[in-house]
Amino acid sequence: MNDRDHVVTSLREIGAGETIKYRNAAGEQAVVVRNDIPFGHKIAISNIEAGTDVRKYGEVIGRAVEPIAIGQHVHVHNIEGIRGRGDLGKETN
């Protein structure tokens, strides 16, 4: 959705091993998908270090909880939301 994004969103089911294409300012890019991806789910288009803010729509959508490799499924198992976290107690923002 934006050139700062770490992820793309799939518009169909995608099988592990397929190559997907997306477009950014530099032109058409290709990524080999490493996991099965359900409709509407996200795929990493760059390597993301653990603890890094993850972007979609050009904005931060959460933080990686483990290292994420390019082509991997990005979802609740490897990123977490930062807001509304009463379970974490008082956080300094």
Binding site: I61, G81, G84, G86, D87
Partner: protein, 387 residues
Amino acid sequence: MERTIMGYERPNGDIGIRNHLLIIPTVICSNQVCSRIMQMVPGAVAIPHQHGCSQIGADKTRTFEMLAGTGKNPNVGAVIIISLGCEVVDPIALAEDIRSTGKPVEVFDIQSVGGSVKAIAYGAELAKRLMADLQKQAKVPVPLSKLKVAVKCGGSDATSGLASNPALGAAADSLISEGGSIVIGETTEIIGAEHLLAERCATPEISDKLYHIVDRFEKEVERMGADMRGGNPSPGNIAGGLSTIEEKSLGCISKCGTAPIKGVIEYAERIPENGLYFMDSPGNDIECVSGMAAGGAHIVCFTTGRGTPTGAAVVPVIKITANKQMFLRMEDNMDIDVSDMLDGSASLGQAGDRIWQEIVEVAEGKWTKAEVLGHQEFSINRIGPSL
């Protein structure tokens, strides 16, 4: 020449696009009588609810304002208020408040009339008389600029942020350019995106108020010591590809279009004319829609990815989706499909026009799927416990 649609003129200058007879129980104890009267008089709408007693402070006020606001909604032509006789909500004050709009309001209590059966008979007689008057009322040309549309998303998945919400935003811009009002809510669902909305507030005071209501809401979540992620995003959102509240919010906010935000209003507060407004409200679909109806919205445009049948008691709810499979699977409940945006065969502008066209047709009388199926959901957001 100002654009007009066919609608109902109200005594206080408002316009209505439906002409409901509304039966309001002041308290849960009156629900049964209200529902029975509704069954006896086709076309009457009752709003049974869970509250009206054992409430104090802001919670008590909220119940009153929700009942009053729903009664005052310009789609309502006449009102019957049915009290038990001993509850916290004051039925006479409620009647006075709704009567200030100029519409006919009848009020009585079950204890004085002498129990359920007599109350049902008495209420049905009132309802028949009021309905006969409403049916005689003709539609006349009314200014489109007086139309107020609420935008909502529910059962969202990844298609909501990618397509249906931006398309609804384009339609919202169309109404704003005609002079109408758009209200967006769901304070929950701007968490992570509030800075983008704050930039669009017309004055610093308005953007301060926006940050304040988000902060107020987050403090409520923290007070419960809970992690939001169990409740929002919902399991359905997560299965549909939304991983965090931030991602969901970023996809949500596009549905209000690009106009400046002219004000931040409280839950059930009256929606002003001519502009885009944010209403403090929960993400809970029914509570949010009910709050916007109590604020005077004429129509709710509701985007969904997972699918929901929900309608509302006094306002038509237009269901919009960009999830083609769900549209086909739940076609009974869906009005507009904009999934052709995702394969590139429709532009954002075309999808937006499709929604705008539907808004005007529904305003002029076309029934939404939710109306055809008789959906009349209503619920009141709570602040405190019952005593």
